[in-house]
């Protein structure tokens, strides 16, 4: 009967723990599951279940405005991910590597965008663009996204580098490699999983950002989340659900690709 005995650390077999987990899962996933389910609802008002249809997917895919918004989102996300990953990686690396005066305050400031309310950041951005006389549009959205993504990438890279053995760089340098060769041959391969994680974070942050994007967008620069918001204000049709479901599937797929690449590179290089 030893099967029934619960070990002190066997939390997954304790009833209260299971109840907690059950609740968490329901709260986390019920809205998403219902959102996806109702995207197949054959009802314009989308309040009660009327029957299965793919009609609203067709409708969403045929919606030119939704197309344009989606394309805008992709352009912004791709640009901001590329730029913020490069800059964030450089920042994270220098925070790990160098000791300089006032490093503490500087690090605190770098992390500020992570902690300050998004609305403050949004207002600050708009004020900034007004002072430099930059018309609001795709460019301003992209710049804002780069600005708030950099610290996230930097934090990820810095955490990754904390486990790095500096002697590896010294060994490379000692064996005749230049600093540049050492970076690309030794440091960069080690950073790669961190870069991937940082880039993915930046991409998803950009793709679904609403507040900052809403403030910094101008005419003709509607992004996917903003478009959905305006559709919801009009009426909650299954078309909105369908569009959101596409976004969910897309993010999930990206995450899975990233995890797969990461696990493979970890299997190869043990780090």
């Amino acid at each position: 009967m030893s099967r029934d005995r619960v070990n002190p650390l066997d939390y997954s077999r304790k009833t209260w723990m299971r109840l907690c987990m059950g609740f968490t899962f329901v709260f986390l996933y019920f809205p998403i599951v219902s959102l996806i389910a109702f995207s197949f609802n054959d009802s314009k008002r989308n309040i009660t279940w009327q029957g299965f249809t793919l009609y609203y997917y067709e409708k969403a895919f045929a919606n030119a405005q939704l197309h344009e918004a989606f394309l805008n989102s992709l352009i912004i996300a791709a640009t901001s991910t590329t730029v913020s990953t490069i800059l964030g990686a450089m920042l994270g690396l220098s925070l790990y590597r160098f000791r300089f005066p006032a490093q503490g305050p500087y690090e605190g400031m770098v992390h500020l965008p992570i902690v300050i309310p998004e609305i403050c950041m949004a207002v600050a951005m708009v004020a900034f663009f007004a002072t430099v006389n930059m018309p609001l549009g795709l460019a301003t959205i992209t710049v804002s996204h780069i600005a708030f993504s950099i610290p996230f990438v930097a934090v990820v890279i810095r955490a990754r580098m904390a486990g790095f053995d500096h002697a590896l760089e010294e060994a490379s340098y000692d064996l005749g490699a230049s600093q540049w060769q050492t970076f690309w041959n030794i440091t960069f391969p080690y950073m790669k999983p961190g870069l991937l994680a940082g880039a993915l974070l930046a991409f998803t942050l950009s793709l679904d950002d609403f507040v900052i994007t809403f403030f910094t967008s101008g005419p003709g620069s509607t992004t996917f989340p903003i478009k959905i918001y305006s559709m919801v204000r009009f009426s909650v049709t299954p078309e909105v659900n369908a569009a959101s479901t596409v976004l969910i599937v897309l993010t999930l797929a990206l995450t899975m690709v990233a995890l797969f690449v990461q696990s493979r590179s970890q299997g190869n290089q043990h780090g």
Binding site: E170, L175, G176, N268, G271
Partner: protein, 367 residues
């Protein structure tokens, strides 16, 4: 004054970190071509700092370093004719054993055909040919260290620097690697400079040893000279085990020195020792445990003899280490060879014995 045989010369080198930490304090050393040289000292004495200055990772605050007759000031680590084996081995985790060893040749633009030959040769030197395709995480600690060795040796450096290369290995493997390292060094003929805090390691491997303490080099000598003729109290105490006493020179007579040791005074008024230039004023008197003879009865033939009581016995199988105390309070450590099966059983705490040694085995150290 420069000897053609000298490969490294360290001249009046000082290294300070900030304004307070003096890691290396005015060190001058000459290391000869083909020598197995050890830097030995307790933790924090500046061994690693000195080695890193040779490799080029630190630059001396004062003084000069010459390698093969050339000034190394301003020469970057990747341009120096030396290579280093790191304490953590620093084997590149994302490369195979072959790629690790080839790395140093590849980055300096060695032709591909030559790389393969030299890598194979270097791997066979450390008996790792069979593991060429493996990744470091599929190797044991000892094998990883061999990769680090092969990777440095493939560059054919003039000097190989090793920072505590054996400290991460278990005792058995360490002993085996000590022997292998010595063989390797003799077969490749490259000068090895090894850093260690383990005196046995230094004694068993090195041709010459520099003992360091708090940034100073106290003595540079071959192992046997260091062990038998330490030049100061620190070296005497640091290398091997030593019985140390405080003494005062009482006089010189017929080419002999008379030294009074308070702890012996109840049994021996003066130690009569061969003349020694250190014998002035306050001195340290030292004798190795294995030089001490143990007898049950008073040994009439020995000039230095004291009656003692056994306070503790530590059994090691082949030997027992005895701790003894005289009535005057002098404490001795002595070794007892367990020559017969029941030798050890006769020696128990509280037993009275005689210790004695030859006057010429006594060291007189200036304080």
């Amino acid at each position: 004054m420069v000897d053609n045989n000298t490969i490294i010369s360290i001249r009046d080198v000082v290294k300070r970190f900030g304004s307070t930490v003096v890691a290396v304090n005015d060190v001058s050393l000459e290391i000869k071509q083909g020598e197995f040289f050890a830097l030995l000292g307790p933790s924090g004495c500046g061994k690693t700092t000195l080695l890193r200055m040779l490799a080029g990772f630190e630059s001396p605050t004062e003084g000069q370093i010459l390698i093969d007759g050339e000034h190394m000031e301003g020469v970057e680590p990747n341009k120096r004719p030396v290579n280093m084996v790191f304490q953590s081995y620093a084997v590149f985790p994302h490369m195979t054993v072959h790629q690790n060893v080839a790395y140093g040749l590849k980055v300096t633009g060695t032709p591909k055909s030559e790389i393969d030959d030299r890598v194979r040769e270097s791997l066979s030197l450390v008996q790792l040919e069979a593991m060429a395709a493996r990744k470091p995480d599929q190797l044991s600690g000892g094998q990883r260290q061999r990769v680090a060795l092969a990777r440095a040796l493939v560059k054919k450096p003039k000097v190989l620097l090793l920072d505590e290369p054996l400290s991460a290995l278990d005792a058995k493997l360490r002993e085996q690697m000590q022997i292998e390292l010595v063989h390797l060094q003799k077969s490749v003929g490259i000068t090895f400079v090894i850093v260690t805090h383990d005196q046995n390691e230094a004694l068993s491997m090195a041709d010459r040893i520099a003992v360091m303490e708090q940034g100073d080099v106290l003595q540079v000598a071959p192992p046997s000279e260091l062990y038998e003729y330490p030049n100061c109290r620190f070296v005497a105490d640091f290398i091997g085990k030593m019985n140390l006493f405080d003494g005062t020179v009482a006089g010189i007579k017929d080419g002999k020195v008379l030294i009074r040791v308070d702890e012996f005074a109840d049994q021996l008024s003066n130690l009569v020792l061969p003349h020694n230039e250190h014998a002035k004023g306050e001195v340290g008197i030292a004798v190795r445990p294995e030089k001490i003879r143990l007898d049950e009865n008073e040994p009439e033939d020995q000039q230095v003899r004291l009656k003692v009581k056994v306070t503790e016995v530590v059994y090691y199988g082949d030997e027992s280490h005895l701790f003894l105390e005289s009535t005057g309070g002098a404490r001795f450590a002595a070794n007892l060879k367990n020559e017969a099966r029941d030798t050890h059983a006769e020696i128990v705490s509280g037993k009275e014995l005689w210790v004695s040694w030859r006057p010429e085995d006594t060291l007189v150290l200036s304080s």
